[in-house]
């Protein structure tokens, strides 16, 4: 929203105040000023010129050669605009001046003739977007005057951050800001000139309110005239300054009153209203209305309409109808000024996608006394501009003014406590009075009466009054202080700690980059990753969004993996070894109506290596998982997966990650696998890749037996290497278990150090080499003892078909 300084000055004397100061004080006390623009800035050297002579350029059909009198002499200028003519007053920019667009003018030859300066268009002066020729000034524009002065460009336009005034219905017009400025700079607010002669007259025009909840008050002012003058230049300039295009006096007056008071009004062409009546009612099923923007709107019974005796003529509080719109032939006008229910207006506007200036105001719940004020202001302006127009002394009225002026108690001690400094009580009272509140003392408290223009939704409790006092007194008076509190430590947060430790283990020790992906599953993810199953195994459908504006955000993700695979594929273009890890949530549909969807905290990591060997890559990632689980203080074992695999897993190269529990079933906490070749193909990942998913909540929940120090051995171990050949079906864990069973307590350590296939090893078998350490706590074992133990190991393995390699 824009504010004109000249307009504000009509309501409060701001002389002697720099725009910077006004913007700063408003920002600190009322609403954020995003910036301001001084009109005519950068046009200091552009002057009113007079085209004394114009002839066709001798060497170019479309160019003109002109002599321009600019007050300080006559310049010869080549001009390309088709509308330049002798005798015109124009904007002349001399050589050496820089125009607002950054163009610096120099004398230059155009088709053989020297051009000294430029005859400017509106666009070149930074005054408008359109530019179908040069700007032609009125014939009485004084030659040699600065152009800004000649055009009346002496205003300063402030830009308000709309979001900072959503709660302040009173600030949606210049009058409201003027009231704030009067309080801030301690200057009087001038009275608003209004027509005090008008009086309510229900017989002036019949109005019926069928839905008083939607429209509690409707006023109508009748005006007749033979002809109207054009909008005066000062008014057109102000409308343009705040971004509104002047149209015709009736419409411009309506806009002017709205931008001044905050109350939208609407002029109907009375002769186009059928049946001489206004009915405010819900739209009928199937009813249509052509609005002034030319669109035909299908209405719903939830919409409130203004109707005449026949049909809807306006959408209440949103937009007028095209058929009853005022036009050049209009001779009689009914000006509507009414109260509409904010929520109703908002809903209709949202449903039809119509965000008008009227909607922006009505949706904030306007002061109930405003419709009459706006009507009187309109009449007063109209009379002064068009004395010939006949304004009916009685205005139509239906409904009632539901204005409230509640009185609230303000405890000054409470205000001082919340604001955090010692603000005197009498200053509180003074601040409140400065913006229209009535204050009287009531024992130690203040009894504060809220004016109608703040009472609707804005100021309703003591804390709202504390805000008024706080902001007008200046928040820079608040000192900085630290709260005192008990030293009770924060509750432990195992999930947060485990999530952080786990992801940082991947980042800091395993070379992974931390990825942050969207919470959404795209259509492509569903098709390419979930194989088109909207329900995983037809049992877990996606959580769906109902109103997303982004095509890729229609469902919540059920896995982090597809997003990571997308990133993997993209990064493989530039990188040979891509490692990505992400900590995030999967969303599972709610189990019962009204419940929230489940959110599962997951860590997922993916890796692809150009030219890598898939089995080795899986083992590499297995080591990364090992590192990660160590850092979250868990031991684990890899197992053949049981049951259904997630889509990413290659069934031949998948490892279930299980955390053993003392005396119980091991708990599955995740799965690690080579990327399934079909998924790899669909995600266009040509390089070998592996994926792991870990359930962080499960990791956090697993019991962790305390780590106790083992005694350091006093005697040296005896080492024996054991190279065996085993069928592929025999797992390393199984063979290790057999070795340990045979070796007994003297076998301190078993470590696999080599795996080999092929060569002399038969198909379906592999060679495994273990390093064994035998040790006793109380002495050095003899060779004979070690050999005996080792032979037991060899014998036991042989019974399982695991034979010594020869």
């Amino acid at each position: 929203m824009k504010l004109s300084l000249r307009w504000l000055c009509e309501h409060v004397d701001l002389s002697g105040l720099a725009p910077e100061q006004i913007a700063h004080e408003l920002t600190m006390k009322t609403a954020l000023i995003e910036g301001f623009e001084k009109q005519g800035e950068g046009l200091d050297e552009v002057r009113v010129g007079h085209v004394v002579q114009r002839e066709k350029h001798p060497n170019a059909d479309r160019l003109s050669f002109c002599r321009v009198d600019h007050g300080g002499g006559v310049a010869e200028v080549v001009c390309g605009a088709p509308n330049v003519a002798a005798g015109q007053r124009i904007a002349y920019a001399p050589v050496g001046c820089t125009l607002p667009g950054g163009l610096r003018l120099e004398a230059r030859k155009i088709r053989g003739l020297l051009s000294n300066g430029m005859i400017c268009s509106r666009k070149e002066l930074g005054l408008g977007e359109e530019s179908d020729g040069i700007l032609v000034l009125p014939d009485d524009a004084p030659i040699g005057r600065p152009i800004a002065e000649a055009l009346g460009l002496d205003d300063v336009v402030f830009e308000i951050d709309n979001k900072s005034v959503t709660h302040r219905a009173d600030l949606w017009g210049h009058r409201g800001f003027a009231r704030e400025l009067a309080a801030i700079f301690d200057r009087p607010l001038k009275p608003l000139p209004i027509d005090k002669t008008l009086a309510p007259d229900p017989s002036a025009y019949p109005v019926r309110l069928d839905d008083p909840g939607g429209c509690p008050l409707y006023l109508g002012l009748r005006v007749e005239f033979e002809a109207l003058p054009p909008t005066p230049a000062w008014m057109a300039r102000r409308l343009e300054a705040v971004g509104m295009r002047p149209i015709s006096l009736l419409v411009d007056l309506s806009n002017y009153v709205m931008l001044e008071t905050g109350q939208p009004t609407h002029p109907f062409d009375e002769e186009r209203l059928e049946g001489r009546r206004i009915v405010v009612r819900p739209a009928r099923p199937g009813e249509k209305l052509k609005t002034i923007d030319g669109q035909s709107r299908a209405l719903s019974p939830s919409d409130l309409v203004i109707a005449d005796g026949e049909r809807a003529v306006a959408l209440a509080g949103v937009m007028g109808g095209a058929e009853s719109e005022v036009r050049s032939g209009t001779r009689r006008v009914l000006l509507e000024s009414a109260s509409f229910d904010a929520a109703r207006v908002r809903r209709s506007a949202a449903r039809l996608g119509l965000r008008t200036e009227a909607v922006a105001r009505f949706e904030k719940t306007l002061d109930a006394t405003l419709p009459e004020l706006a009507l009187r202001r309109y009449a007063s302006l109209l009379r002064s501009i068009a004395p010939g127009a006949k304004v009916h002394p009685g205005f139509a009225i239906a409904g009632a003014v539901h204005a409230r002026m509640p009185t609230l108690a303000l405890r000054p001690d409470r205000a001082r406590l919340k604001l955090g400094y010692d603000l005197p009580t009498d200053e509180m009272a003074r601040r409140l009075e400065s913006i229209g509140f009535a204050v009287r003392s009531d024992d130690d408290d203040l009894a504060v009466t809220v004016p109608t223009f703040r009472a609707r939704r804005d100021v309703t409790c003591e804390d709202d009054l504390i805000e008024e006092v706080g902001r007008l007194s200046g928040y820079e008076r608040v000192p900085a202080a630290l709260p005192r509190a008990d030293v009770r430590p924060a509750a432990a947060a195992p999930l947060r700690q485990v999530a952080r430790d786990a992801v940082l283990a991947f980042v800091r020790e395993c070379g992974f980059a931390e990825h942050v992906g969207y919470s959404f599953a795209t259509d492509r993810h569903v098709e390419h990753y979930h194989h088109g199953h909207e329900g995983h195994g037809e049992t877990r459908p996606f959580v769906r969004l109902t109103n997303s504006r982004t095509a890729d955000a229609t469902r919540l993700r059920r896995s982090l993996v597809p997003g990571l695979l997308d990133a993997l594929a993209r990064n493989l273009v530039e990188h040979a070894d891509v490692r990505l890890v992400e900590c995030g949530r999967e969303y599972l549909p709610e189990r019962a109506e009204g419940e929230l969807p489940g959110e599962r905290h997951v860590l997922a990591a993916v890796r692809a290596l150009r030219g890598g060997e898939p089995a080795a890559l899986v083992l590499d990632l297995r080591t990364d998982v090992e590192t990660c689980l160590r850092r979250v203080r868990l031991s684990w074992e890899g197992r053949r997966p049981q049951g259904e695999l997630p889509p990413f897993a290659h069934p031949g190269r998948a490892i279930e990650i299980a955390v053993p529990r003392p005396g119980g079933e091991a708990q599955v906490v995740g799965l690690l696998a080579q990327l399934h070749p079909e998924v790899a193909r669909r995600f266009e990942i040509a390089e070998p890749a592996a994926v792991v998913e870990l359930d962080l909540a499960q990791l956090a929940a697993e019991p962790r037996p305390p780590l106790r120090m083992e005694p350091i051995p006093q005697f040296p171990p005896a080492r024996r290497d054991l190279a065996v050949e085993a069928p592929e079906a025999a797992t390393v864990a199984e063979i290790e278990r057999e070795i340990r069973a045979a070796g007994g307590e003297r076998l301190a350590r078993v470590e696999l150090f080599d795996v080999y296939r092929g060569g002399k090893i038969a198909a379906g078998r592999r060679s495994l080499a273990f390093r064994l350490e035998y040790r006793a706590a109380d002495r050095t074992l003899t060779d004979d003892e070690v050999n005996g133990l080792h032979q037991r190991v060899v014998d036991r393995l042989a019974k399982q078909g695991v034979t010594l390699r020869t």
Partner: protein, 348 residues
């Protein structure tokens, strides 16, 4: 007899000193030692032959041979030290390297810059006595809006800004919903920080994302005021900007409207790029908005089952993405969730 032995000793000595002096390595020196003093060495042979001599000769020759052995040992040791020293000198003289040649490359990981800031700030608030908690990302309308004094049809819940899920819940538009959950769970006094992912149904561009990150803070206790809000946020900024001890950030509070705080405020800090003179980063104002904040609205405290007469509180909610972008000079917010290693790989 002893005369020939004496000449033999003299000859051994001459040869020994010559050979020791000529040894160029420890290996040669050891073979010289073996030839003289080893099992079959020349001097050993003489010492072994002493037992065949007369007592007088044995005494005389033995003494001479032992003296010679002592001299040879000394010569061997001296030569050994010379060789050691020569080896050190040779090593010093010969070795050199290019200090600019890098070592073998290690594949290093990268913490995501936004996550790093989230973790840093969580730790910071934890150190100030806040309990760091998280809440659901899919939130009920009640906790996300209604309990925060944003009733249905309030302009602050415009449909185009909120993602709705089937069944009427929303993707949380801010972390403020946790205010009520935390108040209900723990009551007052309370200090919580809520870092988390939030969503707005917006079209993406260089400065808008539909998914971003916030950190919410809430302090409720007896006697809490705007001064405490300013104090805590000043401390946070001093730490975030790594200020010297005692140095305070320039901040200002100005009015703003959020339905769940009253007074509603924004806290700005002076632009660190231009020092407040005005530049592109601060859009010429000299100030950068850190967060929306304010004193917890009594209706919110009531919704959290806390007595607003006895307790007051402050709350703030800051955007982590923007703080991160400012720290690293990231101009386009879309990089944050791009997953692009050319971006992620820049952060250590």
């Amino acid at each position: 007899m002893s005369g020939s032995i004496h000449s033999e000793l003299a000859e051994i000595e001459t040869r020994a000193l010559r050979d020791v002096g000529a040894a160029r390595s420890h290996e040669t020196l050891q073979s010289v030692e073996r030839a003289l003093l080893g099992k079959a060495g020349d001097l050993t042979r003489i010492l072994r032959g002493l037992k065949d001599l007369s007592e007088a000769e044995r005494k005389e020759v033995g003494q001479a041979a032992n003296l010679l052995k002592g001299r040879i040992d000394a010569a061997l040791a001296a030569r050994g030290r010379e060789l050691d020293q020569a080896a050190v000198e040779a090593s010093l003289a010969s070795a050199s390297l290019d200090p600019t040649q890098p070592g073998p490359r290690r594949h290093l990981g990268h913490e995501h810059p936004v996550m790093a800031v989230m973790r840093e700030l969580s730790d910071l608030f934890e150190s100030m006595g806040f309990t760091v908690v998280d809440g659901p990302e899919v939130e009920t309308d009640f906790f996300n809006f209604e309990a925060l004094n944003i009733p249905p049809n309030h302009p602050a819940r415009d449909a185009q800004d909120t993602f709705y899920v089937e069944g009427g819940h929303v993707l949380r538009t801010h972390t403020s919903g946790m205010q009520i959950r935390a108040l209900r769970e723990w009551g007052a006094p309370l200090r919580v920080a809520v870092p988390g992912r939030v969503f707005r149904n917006e079209t993406q561009d260089a400065s808008h994302e539909h998914t971003f990150h916030q950190l919410e803070g809430l302090v409720v206790d007896e006697g809490i005021s705007v001064a405490h809000l300013k104090g805590v946020l000043d401390e946070m900024l001093a730490r975030y900007f790594r200020m010297e001890p005692g140095e305070r950030p320039a901040t200002r509070l100005r009015p703003h409207h959020f339905p769940f705080v009253e007074p509603g405020l924004e806290l700005d800090f002076q632009c660190r790029i231009c020092g407040g003179r005005g530049c592109a980063t601060c859009k010429g104002t000299g100030w950068i908005e850190l967060c929306g904040c304010g004193m917890v609205h009594p209706r919110v405290l009531q919704a959290g089952n806390v007595d607003p007469e006895r307790f007051t509180g402050f709350a703030f909610g800051m955007g982590i993405d923007r703080l991160t972008m400012m720290r690293h000079g990231i101009a386009d917010i879309r990089w944050i969730m791009s997953g692009d290693l050319r971006f992620l790989g820049q952060f250590r």
